[in-house]
Symmetry: C2
Subunit: 342 residues, 2 copies
DNA sequence: TTGAAAGCGCTAACAT
DNA sequence: ATGTTAGCGCTTTCAA
């Protein structure tokens, strides 16, 4: 029964028409050029033979692969699945698919992956791996491949469209929340400063403190080298070992906040009694932590949706005006924040 | 500067040789057919022109797309990212890529997705969506597309290779652990019985109870319709409302176990003092729960690796003997299990 | 060892 | 409205 691979020619022969007629029928945009009667016969023959268009040949001929490349650091990082889902749902709706590559943040993997995607003639790329100075982005510009940056951006003067969370605002929400509870001495466990998220959240922290009429003491800021529980723990321990006292800590993401929990445990401090903690991202299950984590919720899925839309637009019209979407975050107040001990 | 799309012809012209010679150089398998000297000249010209092979044309000609389709229910379910990572790492090592589709377990989405993947001429498929009777699987067999089932299987008499966790053994570990702690009356919150995981874990529970010399009381088994926190909660509440008392509950997965936590809270019961609970999967962060969840760890990443390997083997040699890999689970004992209250 | 020619399956002028 | 023709970029016989 393995008639497996019926082609347009087989269908044409079966109906007794020319292959191009079949092509016209199979193609929504040209179907109107053909008699309804013949179209029906073709469609039926196609079904009968189990015909399915060879997307490879189609793409080769039309120079559109209906494929976009998505480059992320690591799919096991829980922020990415919802983003990817948003991307894939949006692409699938218009017959596009995504091919995904994990780079683990290694710039050399980056380059390899990019070449591979270019070889596959992706129509565009969504990059979640952008560093503030990024060779891959430059390469894409040179190759004139439509690109959208997601989650992170490169330098602010970029010509590349981006869809990111409003990190400055997000951190602002945590700081207002804490000052509202009465906190005055607030520490910050910052993320990597070579990533836009780490930098923006740091900036946002400084700005928010200033806006609240507080001074952000440099001695109360510790920078994590990577976003990890370990680094969060290390950072908070460093702060706790310092001379300055504080009653709350704003972590640059949930993983760092988790590390802060650990640090408190090892010092026999209780959260939120002795110390309030906030995270960023609202990862799955942080509502189940002990205590449940107060954190900033990001529109991950929506971020993916918007990025895909912007990219599709750019693919359709390369001249399209660049957009920089900044999605609105929201604060989710849970048990890890409370009034400071007087 | 947009020389964007150099072809094999451009390179040939630049060097003054025939396109087929360039092809031979670019292809590892045929490089030996050409003089080292010319090969070098070609390679240099190729680099100079920024040439990269058009994978589409290559695939069309060779009838190998070096692409495999991966069909999963939902990438935001935390068991899948590590599986996908295992698949992608393994495929990437041999120049293959994965295209992923989410079906949300909807059989009609299934069919659409499959056609789309066949149209893209995937060399093979990895299916994580198999129901016990599965039309997609049948279709693949008919189309003679290599397939591997992962995580779940269809009926046991399948002709399709599979890579799954040993669920019977996994549940056995939890039951032994509980009986070892002194539990005698153990309940089971079972998963959906139309999925192999739900069924196997249920069977495993019955077998393990029997092996321990205990009888599995039907009144102490509640079946969840889907794997969700809600259903877990509902199921345990049903059991708690029954007449039979019990001191421990074996949930068919972590999500269900989470629901059990909720159920206990609403009845003001304490875990593990009043009730021990076990999960299945060892999802991220269940070690941070209150109490940390005792659960069965599955080799997710390895599952992906093995599935990809089996599939690649089948692609290379369609006659390859069918294998059914059954990966070894392990028990992770944490705080949600303890001795029963006397 | 290299070149010539044909064709993978499809679509897009152009002709009828 | 349909057929003819050519070719997307590559590989692979076959010949030289």
């Amino acid at each position: 029964m393995a008639r497996s691979k019926a082609t347009i020619n087989d269908v044409a022969k079966a109906v007794g028409v020319h292959p191009s007629t079949v092509s016209r029928v199979m193609n929504p945009g040209t179907r109107h050029m053909v008699t309804a009667e013949i179209a029906k016969k073709v469609t039926e023959a196609a079904r009968g033979l189990g015909y399915h268009r060879n997307a490879l040949a189609h793409s080769l001929r039309t120079r559109r692969s209906s494929t976009v490349g998505v480059v992320i650091p690591d799919i096991t990082n829980p922020v990415f699945p919802p983003i990817l889902r948003g991307i894939e749902d949006t692409l699938a709706a218009v017959g596009y698919i995504a091919i995904i590559a994990n780079t683990d943040g290694a710039p050399d993997r980056d380059a390899v992956v990019l070449e591979h995607m270019l070889a596959r003639r992706v129509d565009g790329l969504i990059l979640a791996t952008a560093r503030r100075k990024d060779a891959v982005v430059d390469r894409c510009i040179a190759e004139e491949v439509p690109v959208v940056l997601i989650n992170r951006t490169t330098g602010k003067d970029s010509v590349v469209p981006s869809v990111v969370n409003d990190d400055v605002r997000g951190i602002g929400l945590t700081v207002s929340h804490l000052t509202g509870l009465g906190h005055r001495r607030i520490a910050h466990v910052a993320g990597p400063q070579d990533l836009s998220t780490g930098l923006e959240r740091h900036r946002g922290f400084l700005a928010a403190m200033k806006a609240a009429g507080l001074k952000a003491d440099p001695a109360l800021i510790a920078v994590a080298g990577v976003y990890s529980e370990r680094e969060g723990q290390r950072a908070l321990l460093t702060l706790l070992d310092g001379k300055k006292r504080f009653t709350a800590v704003v972590a640059a993401n949930d993983l760092l906040a988790l590390g802060c929990y650990e640090a408190l445990v090892s010092r026999e401090l209780s959260c939120p009694r002795d110390m309030s903690i906030t995270g960023f991202n609202d990862m799955p299950f942080v509502d189940k932590l002990n205590p449940p984590l107060t954190t900033v919720r990001i529109q991950h899925y929506e971020m993916g949706v918007q990025a895909a839309k912007v990219l599709l637009e750019r693919i359709t019209d390369p001249q399209a005006r660049r957009v920089d979407l900044r999605l609105e975050p929201s604060l989710v107040v849970r048990g890890s924040t409370g009034r400071p001990a007087s």
